[in-house]
């Protein structure tokens, strides 16, 4: 560590942990792997705190660290398993149900969404997590990923098309429209 960590910065980092865990869960899938990812990101952030410029957004910086570590790990895994091969974790992923009749409870529907996102190509998974889940603007996501806004948009569009299609196939596409819900069921 090249400079002592300001306690306020540390507190801000701690406060970011729930969001970092959510982001990592979307990328890594399993909770343990996601937390491993967040832990690695925290350790790297502490070690490289001098690379963060006070006054700039700490959350964006830490999200970038998470995604960088995740992408590095994924690339390394591909090298280990052979380029183009489906890794064991993906191969073991159960197929989505195609029973369009079954009425899914909300948690099952969310489970389906998580499965769909886990199956998306890495670059699409990143943009859907950054924009749809984390609420970043296209520009913020583009800056974070180091790609043009147009690329963010095309990746995001593909991801959302896959999501819509998969949810339709599982019957989850028939989610209740907001204007059809009763106001008292919140």
């Amino acid at each position: 560590m090249s400079q002592p960590l300001d306690e306020r910065v540390r507190a801000e980092m701690v406060a970011l942990l729930p969001r970092l865990r959510r982001f990592a869960r979307g990328l890594a899938g399993a909770a343990d792997q996601a937390d491993d990812l967040v832990q690695a990101a925290c350790e790297r952030a502490i070690a490289r705190i001098d690379q963060w410029t006070p006054g700039t957004r700490l959350d964006s910086w830490m999200f970038r660290i998470v995604q960088t570590i995740w992408l590095d790990e994924r690339r390394a895994a591909k090298v280990r398993t052979g380029e183009g091969r489906i890794d064991a974790a993906e191969a073991a992923e159960p197929e989505l149900s195609v029973n369009g009749i079954r009425q899914m409870e909300a948690h099952l529907t969310y489970d389906a969404v998580r499965r769909v996102i886990a199956k998306l190509p890495e670059e699409q998974r990143l943009v859907i997590m950054l924009v749809c889940v984390e609420g970043q603007t296209y520009k913020e996501a583009a800056d974070s990923l180091g790609i043009p806004i147009g690329t963010v948009m095309s990746r995001l569009a593909r991801a959302r098309t896959s999501l819509t299609k998969a949810l339709g196939e599982t019957g989850s596409g028939n989610i209740i429209r907001f204007d059809e819900r009763k106001s008292g069921d919140a």
Binding site: M13, L17, C42, I117, G135
Partner: protein, 290 residues
């Protein structure tokens, strides 16, 4: 506009279009049920993605992560309020929430507070439904959205004040936004940035203190030159996460959701589609600031 493609619809849904293009898309949507369906699918997909990972925010944070930041594990709860599974920000029992800023602030807040106290004490059954709140019920009743009656009522209070050219419309005017953020942030025990909706054609008018379920809540007000009037209400809640829903109360549409100990309502006298698109933008701004 010659043709609206999927990427444009997505950008519209995500609030990434400038106001003029968004209006063109809305015009195209009005005459095309297929496009409307696709817009709804895109919104549903985004909200499902958001909802699918929302619970993670409510999980206890493993101590090893806090330790990785070099801090005592015990500090996390105080910093986040979410690290031990107790993800709801504790409701403050303090009675010191009345504004201490200015005579105008006092007068406006007192007038609203008096309205609520008079009704909220249960002595009367007002037409706005304030009497349904107040005494320990309100938001604690998970099966009820009666607090939205309040949201609609406060909307009408402001609407009527505006129509009467009442000078005590807001506790804080748009020129006071930094102070407004600081003041309401303290009252709501959170970081707060007043969403800027200029790109949606809506100008910030200011903020008022209102009372939801006996607790201070923030009401931020916006208007457009087309006569649109919008309010954002942020209140405490002890209810769990709830994705966006839309409810109509009289002539007011309300997009509402709950997240991390707060209930949000975004209400306006505009069509549900436009309101929902703006609400998505508001959600993103609030998420970013929190």
């Amino acid at each position: 506009m010659s043709r609206v493609d999927d990427v444009m619809l997505m950008a519209y849904v995500d609030g990434e279009m400038d106001a003029a293009t968004a209006r063109e898309i809305e015009t195209a949507l009005a005459g095309d049920p297929a496009l409307m369906l696709r817009v709804q699918q895109l919104r549903d997909g985004a909200m499902m993605a958001r909802g699918a990972f929302a619970e993670v925010l409510h999980e206890p944070v493993p101590e090893r992560l806090i330790a990785a930041l070099g801090g005592p594990a015990a500090s996390a709860k105080a910093d986040t309020g979410t690290t031990r599974g107790d993800n709801v920000v504790p409701l403050k029992r303090s009675t010191s929430w009345l504004p201490r800023r200015s005579a105008i602030g006092w007068a406006a807040a007192a007038s609203v507070a008096a309205l609520v106290i008079g009704y909220g004490a249960g002595e009367m059954r007002p037409q706005f439904g304030f009497g349904d709140l107040g005494l320990g019920g309100g938001l604690q009743n998970a099966s009820s959205n009666r607090w939205l009656d309040n949201v609609a009522a406060y909307y009408h209070v402001y609407q009527n004040s505006l129509a009467n050219k009442d000078k005590l419309l807001v506790d804080f005017t748009a020129s006071d936004v930094p102070e407004l953020e600081k003041w309401f942030g303290a009252k709501l025990n959170r970081k707060l940035e007043v969403p800027n909706l200029t790109s949606k054609g809506l100008t910030t008018q200011g903020g008022r203190l209102v009372i939801i379920n006996d607790k201070p809540a923030a009401q931020f007000l916006y208007s457009s030159d087309k006569g649109e009037l919008v309010e954002l209400v942020i209140a405490f809640t002890d209810q769990p996460y709830q994705p966006e829903q839309i409810t109509r109360k009289g002539d007011v549409n309300i997009v509402h959701w709950r997240d991390n100990g707060y209930a949000y309502a975004f209400a306006g006298n505009m069509d549900a589609s436009r309101l929902q698109a703006i609400a998505d933008s508001v959600w993103r701004d609030l998420e970013r600031a929190s």
